[in-house]
């Protein structure tokens, strides 16, 4: 058994080192989808987190609570929800978004947005209350306060984006349900690992697992490095 695992591991490494085309296509597809999703989510969520922090409005607390709850939303539930909208019989069925990259990206944006919004809002809220007062007393206007707050909270915002990216690149439910795991098209690292493992093809699954782990470690390391100066 040990011998077999060693062989599988060696073959997985050999797949990575040999530059297997399909392996790298899948890895790059995953990265591409995740980067696009997190970029779109950032454009939506960072301003939303800032608005939540700087403005008071009725039901703000309720909205923050909902956002916090949505951070733990299971990916299959998002997949199911988006599926019901973009499937042929759904209201957006005409757009042919199902089983193509756009479907995955929509699902991943929905997955990442609450995480990013919550983390940006929390990060800004954790700024010392003296920070705002210091800016005001030095005659900073609203735009100056916003700029200074973003500069001061930049590490928290970047680490929020990285946390969202980590969540998106590691999800399987959305990619499987909305992308359909189509070879050379919508197949991502996580869907491939799930599929190949169920087929008993451990080598490809393990090699992708190693790449995924490396990406996760890089994200964690970068986040740690960025947040460290704040501690």
């Amino acid at each position: 058994m040990q011998n077999k695992m060693d062989t599988v591991f060696a073959e997985a490494l050999s797949l990575i080192l040999s530059g297997d085309k399909e392996l790298y296509f899948i890895a790059l597809t995953s990265l591409r989808f995740s980067l696009i999703s997190i970029l779109i989510a950032s454009f939506i969520s960072i301003p939303l987190g800032i608005l939540l922090h700087f403005y008071s409005f009725p039901l703000k607390r309720a909205l923050v609570s909902i956002l916090h709850a949505l951070m733990a939303l299971p990916t299959v539930v998002i997949g199911l929800l988006v599926f019901s909208f973009i499937s042929r019989s759904g209201p957006l069925g005409q757009l042919n978004l199902l089983f193509n990259p756009s479907g995955i990206i929509i699902g991943q944006v929905i997955l990442a947005s609450p995480i990013l919004t919550s983390l940006v809002y929390s990060g800004l809220s954790k700024l010392d209350p003296r920070f705002h007062e210091t800016l005001i007393t030095l005659a900073a206007r609203k735009a100056d306060i916003l700029r200074a707050s973003l500069t001061e909270a930049r590490f928290v915002i970047i680490s929020a984006v990285l946390a969202g990216f980590g969540r998106v690149i590691g999800e399987v439910g959305v990619s499987m349900m909305l992308g359909g795991n189509i070879r050379w098209y919508t197949r991502t690292m996580t869907t491939t690992i799930a599929l190949e493992t169920s087929k008993g093809n451990f080598e490809l699954g393990l090699s992708l697992g190693l790449i995924l782990m490396t990406v996760a470690l890089l994200i964690n390391g970068t986040t740690h490095m960025l947040v460290k100066p704040e501690v």
Binding site: R130, F131, T134, I136, T137, L138, A139, A148, P229
Partner: protein, 356 residues
């Protein structure tokens, strides 16, 4: 014209508390602050010092009443923000360098790059931190951080500097440096400095005027605070020479004080340590002066009403051009039959004087 004039001010942090109107943490009927002086707000923790400073800088908004800065209501006027700066008890520095911190207010005011540089260097020199421009703000000690915060405030050359408990987080040596710094700021920049503190020696030494707060209300300090310096000892007695302005030429009166070594600049005599008499007293009190009654102020502090005792009266006298106040009972006032302009003798012991 008063720099700040406060009328009917009331402040509470919440509108309601358990269904009732929330109690006011600060209630001031009237207060005026004049330009060019150092004011010290004295009071214990929770007496309302920080609240008052923040209200004066519009960091908090009054629940009721008005605060005018240079005859302009601070809620509607625009001059206050450009001319006053508040420095926190434990000042917060922005991440980055000392230079970027000190330059912040100047950049907001759109000063040219050259002028920003010049002002930052000059201000850092004033606070004794020349050469610190490139240091990270996170690498500074508590005292250095405070001086950078003062430099940041000073760089915009405000008319009023509001300092909240500047002595609370620094050691004794740094307090001495801070006192020198504040004196230099007032001398070089001519700005009005309003400081909150519960450090009595610091307050006596620094304050031209002391404002005492208790439970959010103004109360008389009950002390004569005389600025001056020690002159040479005569026949075993030390003499404190009152000078106005502080540091100016020797003035009068010359006061016998305790035989303690030191370069004291402030003598404090409690109102109730000064006796009034219509004849010079032959007693152990070394200090006896002839004065002219200037004014009377009824003193009905909370301790009097709680003891249900008759009120006291603060009698202010002109002694050789200085105003000195004595606190006596109404009965004594009636017995002495004093009225403004009357001549009267005041006596106090050398040992009743506290030197700072």
């Amino acid at each position: 014209m008063a720099l700040f004039s406060i009328e009917g001010l009331r402040f509470s942090y919440t509108a309601e508390y358990r269904g009732k109107k929330a109690p006011a943490v600060l209630e001031i009927d009237r207060l005026e602050i004049n330009a060019g002086k150092i004011y010290v707000l004295l009071g214990s923790n929770g007496s309302g010092k920080t609240t008052l400073l923040k209200l004066m800088n519009r960091l908090l908004l009054p629940t009721k009443g008005s605060i005018c800065f240079q005859d302009e209501d601070i809620l509607t006027g625009s001059t206050l923000r450009q001319r006053t700066v508040y420095v926190h008890q434990n000042p917060l520095l922005f991440s980055g360098t000392v230079y970027s911190n000190v330059a912040y207010g100047l950049k907001l005011r759109k000063f040219s790059h050259r002028e920003v540089q010049q002002r930052v260097h000059r201000t850092l020199k004033v606070v004794g931190l020349q050469g610190f421009e490139r240091k990270r703000s996170s690498a500074l000690s508590g005292g250095e951080a405070q001086r950078v915060a003062i430099a940041r405030a000073l760089a915009v050359e405000p008319e009023v500097l509001l300092l909240d408990e500047p002595t609370s987080s620094i050691d004794k040596d740094s307090i001495g440096k801070l006192e020198q710094l504040l004196a230099a700021i007032q001398r070089d920049y001519g700005c009005t400095i309003i400081i909150s503190s519960h450090n009595l020696p610091f307050a006596y030494r620094m304050g031209d005027t002391l404002i005492k707060l208790e439970d959010g209300r103004l109360v008389p300090t009950g002390q004569n605070i005389l600025k001056g310096h020690m002159s040479s000892a005569k026949a075993g007695n030390r003499i404190f020479q009152v000078c106005e302005p502080p540091g100016g030429p020797p003035g009068r009166p010359a006061i016998f004080c305790p035989d303690i070594d030191g370069h004291f600049t402030t003598a404090v005599i409690d109102y109730d340590r000064i006796l009034l008499s219509d004849e010079p007293l032959h007693s152990s009190a070394q200090n006896c002066f002839k004065g002219t009654v200037y004014s009377f102020t009824a003193y009905d502090g909370p301790e009097q009403s709680s003891w249900n005792s008759p009120g006291l009266v603060d009698v202010t006298l002109d002694v050789e051009g200085r105003l000195i106040t004595s606190r006596i009972t109404r009965k004594s006032l009636e017995e002495l039959a004093l009225s403004p302009g009357d001549k009267v003798y005041l006596s106090f012991k050398a040992s009743s004087i506290r030197l700072y």
